[in-house]
């Protein structure tokens, strides 16, 4: 057969969250240490496709990337049309742990970006023993919103266009246009109100300034990687977070922004590979 296949396999798994069945889509490739990847607010797991197809990574790690409910190919739970969607810390943590449990993953590594980078602080603080290591990409313990997020979800502004246009400036000007446009496409495809609902966790509810200092990195190591062009989670935000967590590792990534894994995969792996090497040796 001459077809050019990617090694990624996609499947659905059913997970009960808050008493409701959730049909969760995930993609996986590779064998070895489970590495669960969490996408950014308003996007989906396609952001991780370059990690899923990186042979040097999938030789040592089973990479698994899932779509949060309402995102990508994961269905919203029944009755969603009568709810105002808001991601919460408790709900987000619950989904991640139940997903890992459903797949019977043994002490996985969790790597999340943006909201995913924030929630690893919750996992580290409250469930550290369940994880081999945590990687917070664009990770901050707090974010103070400065623009009115109601622009993201109203009938006189196109939802997909505005979500993409807002995040377009969070990428580095050096990132290849093809990868930038692919990253924006995911935002253009998000469901109505989903990005805004995710930002409830990012900008309001998920505040870990108090809890950061109580994270025990001797139980579960924490690695923080932040792109220099991210004006949402700035290097200063991540540095403050890393300083608050005793033993956390922190690295600023040059010529990268808020979406390192999808805006410039080649540049990202320069910073990620040394972290994964260290995790292999844990």
């Amino acid at each position: 057969m001459s077809a050019k296949f990617e090694p990624i396999i996609g499947r659905y798994v059913h997970v009960e969250i808050e008493g409701k069945d959730n049909r969760i889509y995930f993609e996986t490739a590779g064998t070895g240490i489970p590495l669960v990847c969490l996408h950014t607010a308003g996007a989906d797991a396609r952001q991780w496709r370059h990690i899923l197809t990186d042979a040097e990574i999938t030789e040592k790690f089973q990479v698994i990337a899932f779509d949060l409910p309402r995102h990508g190919k994961s269905n919203p739970p029944e009755g969603f049309e009568r709810e105002v969607y808001r991601l919460t810390a408790a709900g987000y943590t619950d989904i991640i742990r139940k997903f890992c449990h459903a797949l019977e993953l043994s002490r996985p590594v969790v790597m999340g970006c943006s909201i995913g980078g924030r929630i690893v602080l919750d996992l580290a603080r409250n469930h550290g023993a369940e994880f081999r290591a945590l990687v917070g990409v664009q990770c901050s313990n707090h974010h103070r919103p400065w623009y009115d997020s109601s622009w993201l979800y109203r009938p006189d502004v196109h939802g997909g266009e505005i979500c993409a246009a807002i995040v377009s400036g969070m990428m580095a000007p050096q990132s290849p246009n093809r990868s930038v446009q692919e990253t924006l496409w995911y935002y253009k495809q998000g469901g109505p109100g989903v990005f805004k609902g995710d930002l409830y966790f990012y900008g309001a509810e998920g505040d870990y300034r108090e809890e950061s200092s109580r994270i025990d990195t001797s139980i579960c190591p924490l690695f923080i990687l932040t792109g220099e062009y991210d004006y949402s989670c700035t290097p200063e935000d991540s540095e403050r977070t890393a300083k608050a967590v005793p033993g956390a590792s922190f690295q600023v990534m040059k010529e990268l922004g808020h979406f390192p894994m999808s805006e410039n995969p080649e540049q990202f792996r320069r910073y990620l590979m040394p972290v994964l090497k260290r995790i292999e040796q844990l």
Partner: protein
């Protein structure tokens, strides 16, 4: 040269970049297409100067840089000549690379009725970034 004279030299240089917007924008058929529903005057503040940009169907029809006693604008974007100069570098530094990034850091203000701005946000971001191609480090410099 006094610092205020240097400042006005810089303002004049940056205003000169803004004046190139019609030729830069109107030859970009993709940008014009994406701005097909934009019909507005917007105000760009460069230091103490107020410049009006008239847009019709995505085309930049006029840049008015002379003082106006009474003129409407849908919204304004105002920053120092230094802020615009940094924004218009061929490869701007972190924090100076995007209108929202500069707004968050307090380098520019975005005021007025923002509905048009938000409805066409990528158009306005791309339109106002066009003078980057005139940067001295640009291989396309004319």
């Amino acid at each position: 040269m006094s610092s205020s004279a240097m400042e006005s030299d810089e303002e004049a240089r940056v205003i000169g970049l803004l004046k190139r917007l019609p030729e830069l924008a109107n030859q970009d058929s993709d940008l014009v297409r994406r701005g097909a529903y934009v019909h507005d005057d917007i105000l760009i503040g460069i230091g103490a100067h107020r410049c009006y940009v008239r847009i019709a169907g995505g085309l930049v029809e006029e840049i008015e840089t002379r003082p106006q006693r009474m003129r409407s604008a849908a919204f304004s974007i105002i920053g120092s000549a230094d802020a615009w100069s940094r924004f218009w570098q061929r490869m701007p530094a972190p924090g100076w690379h995007d209108l929202f990034a500069m707004n968050k850091r307090g380098h520019i203000t975005i005021e007025g009725n923002l509905l048009t701005f938000m409805q066409h946000l990528q158009y306005f971001k791309d339109l106002l970034a066009l003078p980057r191609s005139l940067s001295e480090t640009s291989p396309n410099v004319r």
